[in-house]
């Protein structure tokens, strides 16, 4: 708010450019701090974008980015008219929607619960253990998933058999794929994602709790009426950003645990791009598919931001 008022004051007696320069001079340390981040985005996100032109060409390696024959929207058309278009979009959207629906609340609930734990060593131990999977590489995680779910001697099926249930071959049934994916994702990311909420919680003024307790509020009421509303902004911001990445599913984990048996629910746009682009060397087609994905992604982000602005007054821009 303060920067807003000072800039309106400045507006009266100076042009836009000199105002920026003045601000820059005054706050150059801040600009220096953010410089690496800006450089990162320019170098790794914006500059490589020129390569997208190959989505509109029949790209030939060695001929460069501008000398391939231009083919307009041919590759987009081929993707949209392809046999698997509907399945790919459906799988991408559904898998991410489930991930958001189930995966998003867990870190919040976990942070709220952890905040209530008063035994410090126990709290620390739980926190550390819950971060742990985040630091294990995806390949190892997927190896663990495979061995946990093995129908012969995986721990899940051993437990199922010990209580008299049939052993299930989870990874070769298409109907279990999303469940497996979402649950393991929660397991890996819950602890790590809760850090930001814990940080937000620790910033809440303790006097609010004291006042509430004097008024006779229970612990649950304190959580519901003080903690949750206080971290609302953080929650909504993260929600918008999660919606923004709704379509940008990373392919690694899926590639490691899917098989043709589970393509029906597991094959998403990014795995398809991987197979057609890197394995079959159809660079142009893969770029077109990837671009299609990113555009939808961007539209979702704009939509989520607009909705949030309208209903909660929190927004990215």
């Amino acid at each position: 708010m303060t920067t807003g008022t000072s800039s309106t004051v400045l507006k009266k007696n100076s042009s836009k450019g000199s105002r920026f320069l003045k601000g820059f001079k005054k706050e150059y340390e801040l600009w220096l701090l953010i410089l690496p981040v800006i450089a990162y985005f320019i170098i790794f996100c914006y500059i490589p974008m020129y390569g997208l032109v190959i989505a509109f060409q029949d790209y030939m390696p060695g001929k460069g980015f501008l000398d391939g024959p231009w083919v307009g929207l041919k590759h987009f058309q081929a993707f949209v008219e392809g046999l698997y278009f509907h399945r790919l979009v459906r799988n991408t959207v559904l898998l991410n929607a489930y991930l958001l629906l189930w995966g998003f609340p867990f870190p919040i609930i976990f942070a709220l619960l952890l905040n209530e734990v008063k035994v410090i060593w126990f709290k620390k131990a739980v926190q550390t253990i819950s971060y742990l999977p985040y630091f294990i590489s995806t390949v190892v995680i997927c190896g663990l998933i495979k061995s946990f779910l093995s129908p012969a001697n995986g721990i899940v099926n051993v437990l199922r058999e010990s209580i008299g249930l049939q052993s299930i071959n989870f990874l070769s049934k298409a109907k279990y794929f999303r469940t497996v994916y979402v649950i393991t994702d929660i397991w890996v990311f819950m602890g790590w994602n809760s850090i930001i909420y814990l940080a937000a919680i620790s910033g809440i003024n303790q006097e609010l709790y004291e006042a509430a307790r004097i008024d006779g509020a229970s612990r649950i009421q304190c959580g519901w009426y003080i903690t949750l509303p206080s971290i609302k902004q953080t929650v909504i911001l993260l929600l918008i950003m999660n919606i923004g990445s709704l379509m940008s599913m990373s392919a690694e984990k899926i590639l490691l645990i899917y098989s043709p048996l589970t393509y029906e629910t597991a094959d998403v746009i990014s795995t398809y791009v991987y197979r057609s682009g890197l394995l079959n060397a159809q660079y142009s087609f893969a770029s077109a598919t990837g671009l299609f994905n990113s555009v939808i992604n961007f539209l979702l982000l704009v939509l989520a931001n607009w909705l949030s602005k309208k209903y909660t007054e929190v927004s990215l821009w």
Partner: protein
């Protein structure tokens, strides 16, 4: 043998006539950079200047540098490098890609202008005996972009049929080694129902365990041949797509029967070699594929850690239900393709290096048998004998591992030296017996000419969805998720709607160019 001496004499006369020019060519010491995937023997990286390549480098007066990636990631790394086409190594192993496409856009250079008696004396001599190689390696656009190795007609590259079953389990249950697919079914059934591993628990055996894609070997016994990649050819010389044939359907029905009666590992869709090996060590699997017969002793080490008497019986190709005899394909021209990149500063020297390292007779022995002195010595009659380093390795390496530790049996292309392979395997009597018993079943694979640029582009476009459908439906049919009676026609219709007729016609064209 006579032929060998004639060849020697030929080479001799060539080298004599062009000796002066050749000396000039090799006069300057230069550096050549090679790109391929890493040695299969993890203990020795090519980057360590292994003895075999040291010998090649000395002969060619070069220093070798390497750009390496692991075998599983090589295809990705290579395609990324070729797509960027910047600062490429001089010599590239293009095995995973179609060199012609990259030749057309100029990433790799045509070789035919470089092939002459000065740059490539060994290859020129090789062509005298194998004229077909020139045709096979020439793209329809008239250029040759790559060098491929060669396996003599009717020779196996040690691979063979690959189906192995626990010999000690067969003995325990009083069963004979199966020779037909029906007998195989009976054996697996017995493994399942009885206490085949003899630990007192009749329920812990998995009769057969391996990745699903390897099961295609069995399809040959059902008359679905794969003699030409995904295609086979009928009596009139017309190609047909294997995975949509009636024979293939019968094969799927057979596998589905095995799967539904739990005679193959329920994890066969996702399993990898590590998991299979882990189960071998638990002494619970009754059979697997071991596509390199030389590696059977390694698998046996795994099972012997659990059961000292365990061993694998190796199967000959099985006879199918309608009497079709299974066969083994010899390799002919290998898919491996060595190319020279546009960034190579000394194309003549790169050509000379390829020529020597692939087609020279001494190099062939090194490629197959490892380095002279460490791995083998010449005997008085001009053949070779392996040293103890290979046959009785002090560190316990298998013969193949020992050879690979010196740079032999590397990942680039070479010509098979069948005698060396036999000699190496002579350390194990059972493998010798097996290879002898397989010999009558070996037939030649069918050859295609390389794709034109348009063909390659169209094939890869069509293959995009066809391969997904085939791969997916194969597993769904095998596991019974899709019904072989109710869903088969839809499967065929979908294949046709994805352009299967055009796909087949394209391959027919490639096939006709070589065979008509």
């Amino acid at each position: 043998m006579l032929c060998f001496f004639v060849l020697l004499a030929l080479i001799g006369s060539f080298s004599f006539a062009f000796a002066g020019e050749r000396e000039d060519l090799l006069a300057d010491h230069i550096t050549l950079k090679l790109m391929t995937w890493e040695n299969y023997y993890a203990g020795a990286s090519f980057a360590d200047n292994l003895e075999v390549f040291q010998a090649f480098a000395e002969n060619q007066n070069v220093t070798l540098e390497w750009e390496l990636a692991s075998s599983s990631r090589y295809s990705e790394v290579l395609q990324t490098r070729l797509a960027a086409a910047i600062d490429l190594p001089d010599i590239i192993n293009c095995a995973p890609v179609q060199p012609a496409a990259y030749g057309l856009s100029g990433v790799i250079i045509p070789l035919e202008g470089l092939i002459n008696e000065v740059n490539a004396p060994n290859y020129t001599a090789f062509l005298v005996d194998h004229p077909i190689m020139s045709l096979l390696q020439t793209s329809p656009d008239g250029h040759q972009y790559s060098f491929s190795g060669y396996v003599g007609k009717g020779e196996m590259l040690g691979g063979g049929y690959g189906l192995v079953l626990r010999g000690d389990w067969l003995e325990r249950l009083g069963l004979a080694v199966p020779t037909t697919t029906d007998e195989l079914y009976d054996v697996l059934k017995a493994f399942k129902e009885q206490d085949a591993n003899g630990n007192g628990d009749p329920d812990d055996e998995i009769p057969f365990s391996d990745g699903y894609s390897k099961l295609n070997v069995l399809a040959i016994s059902f008359g679905c041949g794969y003699r030409a990649g995904n295609f086979d050819v009928d009596d009139e010389g017309n190609l047909y797509f294997c995975c949509s044939s009636e024979q293939y359907r019968e094969f799927l029905r057979y596998v589905n029967k095995l799967y539904s009666e739990q005679l193959i590992d329920p994890e066969f869709a996702t399993t990898d070699d590590d998991q299979v090996e882990a189960k071998e060590a638990q002494n619970i699997i009754g059979g697997r594929f071991s596509l390199w017969i030389d590696e059977v002793p390694f698998s046996e080490q795994m099972i012997q850690s659990a059961d000292p008497d365990g061993y694998y019986a190796m199967l000959n190709p099985l006879t199918g239900p309608d009497g079709t005899q299974g066969v083994i394909y010899s390799s002919g021209m290998l898919d491996n393709a060595m190319c020279i990149s546009k960034d190579c500063k000394y194309p003549e020297r790169a050509m000379s290096f390829l020529d020597y390292s692939i087609f020279n007779d001494y190099a062939t022995i090194c490629n197959n048998c490892g380095s002279e002195h460490t791995c083998w010595e010449y005997t008085d009659d001009g053949s070779i004998a392996f040293t103890d380093y290979v046959m009785n390795n002090p560190d316990g390496l298998s013969p193949m591992e020992a050879i690979r530790s010196t740079g032999g049996y590397h990942t680039m292309t070479f010509v098979l030296y069948a005698e060396g392979r036999k000699l190496m395997n002579s350390v194990n009597d059972r493998i010798v017996g097996y290879i002898d018993s397989m010999a009558p079943y070996v037939v030649d694979r069918l050859e295609y000419s390389p794709s034109t640029d348009q063909e390659a582009a169209r094939i890869s476009e069509l293959n995009r969805d066809i391969s997904v459908l085939v791969d997916e439906m194969r597993l769904l049919f095998m596991t019974g998720e899709a019904d072989l009676d109710a869903d088969w026609d839809t499967y065929i219709e979908t294949l046709n709607s994805l352009g299967l007729p055009e796909y087949t016609a394209l391959y027919q064209g490639k096939y006709d160019r070589v065979n008509k």
